[in-house]
Amino acid sequence: MKTVLRALVPGYEGQPLAPYLPAHIRLALRMSVLLAVPYSLYMHWRPFSLLSASQREQVLDAMAHSSLAPVRGVVQWWKLVAWTTSCH
């Protein structure tokens, strides 16, 4: 989760799976990261964690502009999680 959020918001330091979130929301957040896998395999033939910083950005940018609304929504959700769990 942190790998994805650090690619989305460089310098991210926080606790994305905050304990105050209900368990099912934490599970959904954890599972949502799997969405990045098919995009990274399709675009760069490697899992997300093995991509360079610029390749990770390309993957997330493609997801943010996906024709699939749920994928765009997930990126927006990650962004909200990233800012609310790290920025004051």
Binding site: V9, I25, E57, G73, K79, L80, W83, C87, H88
Partner: protein, 484 residues
């Protein structure tokens, strides 16, 4: 009995319990927000014995946005309606309910909407007479110190909206006392200036003997022989709470949880859910605009209500503001660095779609999808806002609408937003104004159960098209008068 420190005041209440609690009063009020806090105050002041049961804790000054979201928002801000769009439903979960985290905007109950209600069901005319509703609003306006935002709190954001929309925009009327323009309404006022119900209503109720049980989630309404007798609840510690009502149980847990509690208690409702979805438009200005005190939402426009459109300026804590910035990675970082030059304005649509509140595996589940017509209204509103941003001097507009460029730089591009395909998921929406559509009969009782009363937006049959706090407090006042 413990003392729990609020934002700038001390409220004696029972904040959680580790031992079972059993208590009896004339009225058991479920929820302490706009509806519950108001009805509790007026009933207590009329001499009745009142218990307030609230799932959340007393609000405290949040250290940062994450802390505020964790302690003040339901489900840590992650509650959503599901359908073709995933629609976040932002509600408060604290003593004071959503009034703790709203933008403090007070718009009187629109008379045109009231006329619609009466035309659709003439019983509203006698249940909720317009004259009584107006008198109730005046009573609440005085209690909440509602007045127009002064010019020194318009800030750069609100002033830019005023400049662009001219006489179509006006300063918001807000429930504040001594607002310092810290723009933190949505994470709990750090100065105790916002007259949320935990500040303006509940302490007054308590001074007349009302008892508040906080961190106590109601599980079920006890109905015996077609009459509501009380509620069973559970404290966050796991201890049980049993509250008996001599006269009535007043449900004011909001447009999601009130229908859900009715469903759990065997009353078949939930099909009338609707909401007032909104979207935001960001604009980059050549110079810093956030350089002075500013109210969170200082300016609004009601000029297009007939078209189902409402505009308002938005100044949120930076973490929430940043989430609206387009882009990822380094590009996002570069744009976020310009945040002091970014104005954020919102549009809300009087959506006609109907959804449903259901019993889900983790609590209430809301199914709701805005119609194509609802999305068209939002796109039309966003296009107008984008044009207005350029009129106010913006050099770029960041629409965040699927199908539009991330950045647009001309009025012509801005106008084309209205013609984008209104497909599902095209517009990132959020809803904070929720309505339940639960039918009520005389004295606002739920059909089929005597002494089970609604006093929140769950009884509103339609979307108001405006911020509902003023309407909810006015209706709750009429409910209290019906039972006083």
């Amino acid at each position: 009995m413990v003392e729990a420190r609020g934002l700038d005041h001390v409220v004696p209440l029972i904040n959680g319990s580790t031992v079972p609690v059993d208590d009896t009063a004339d009225f058991v009020v479920v929820g302490s927000g706009a509806g519950g806090g108001t009805v509790a105050r007026w009933l207590a002041e009329a001499g009745h014995d009142v218990i307030i049961v609230e799932e959340g804790a007393p609000p405290r000054a949040a250290a940062n946005t994450a802390d505020a979201v964790a302690t003040l928002y339901r489900d840590g801000g992650a509650q959503a309606a599901f359908g073709m769009d995933v629609l976040p439903l932002l509600q408060g979960c604290a003593v004071g309910g959503t009034t703790v985290i709203n933008g403090a905007i007070q718009v009187p109950f629109p008379e045109a909407v009231y006329r619609e209600w009466v035309a659709a069901d003439p019983a509203w005319g006698s249940l909720l007479p317009w004259r009584q509703l107006e008198q109730a609003r005046e009573r609440v306006d005085a209690a909440l110190n509602i007045h127009a935002t002064p010019r020194d709190l318009w800030g750069g954001n609100g002033s830019a909206m005023r400049r662009a929309l001219g006489s179509e925009a006006h300063p918001t009327r807000r429930n504040v006392r001594g607002c310092k323009g810290s723009a933190r309404c949505m994470i709990g006022c750090p100065n105790g200036a916002k007259q949320s119900t935990d500040v303006a209503m509940i302490p007054a109720a308590m001074s007349h003997g009302a008892r508040v049980y906080a961190q106590c989630a109601v599980q079920k309404i006890t109905v015996i022989g077609r009459r509501a007798r009380g509620v069973s609840a559970r404290f966050s510690s796991g201890a049980t709470g049993t509250f008996h009502a001599r006269r009535a149980v007043i449900l004011a847990a909001g447009a999601v949880h009130s229908p859900w509690l009715l469903l759990r208690s065997g009353v078949r409702v939930g099909a009338g859910f609707t909401c007032h979805p909104g979207a935001a438009m960001a604009g980059l200005f050549p110079d810093a605009i956030h350089n002075r005190p500013e109210a969170s939402q200082s300016m609004e426009s009601l000029a297009y209500l007939a078209e189902g459109i409402k505009f308002e300026s938005l100044l949120m804590p930076s973490a929430l503001q940043k989430a609206r910035v387009p882009g990822v990675g380094e590009q996002l970082t570069r744009r976020v660095a310009q945040l002091d030059r970014v104005a954020l304005w919102g549009v809300a649509a009087r959506a006609q779609a109907r959804g449903r509140v259901m019993r889900g595996p983790f609590g209430p589940m809301v199914l709701y999808t805005p119609t194509v017509a609802d999305r068209r209204i939002l796109l039309k509103g966003l296009a107008r806002l984008a044009v207005a941003m350029f009129d106010a001097g913006a050099v770029e507009v960041w629409p965040s609408v699927h199908g539009a460029p991330d950045v647009i730089r001309s009025r012509e591009q801005a106008m084309r937003i209205a013609d984008l395909p209104p497909g599902a998921g095209a517009i990132p929406m959020v809803a904070t104004h929720l309505f339940g559509g639960v039918p009520v009969r005389e004295r606002f009782q739920v059909p089929g159960v005597d002494g089970l009363v609604l006093a929140d937006a769950s009884l509103f049959p339609t979307n108001l098209g405006v911020n509902p706090m003023s309407a909810i407090t006015a209706v709750a006042t009429v409910v209290a008068e019906a039972w006083a």
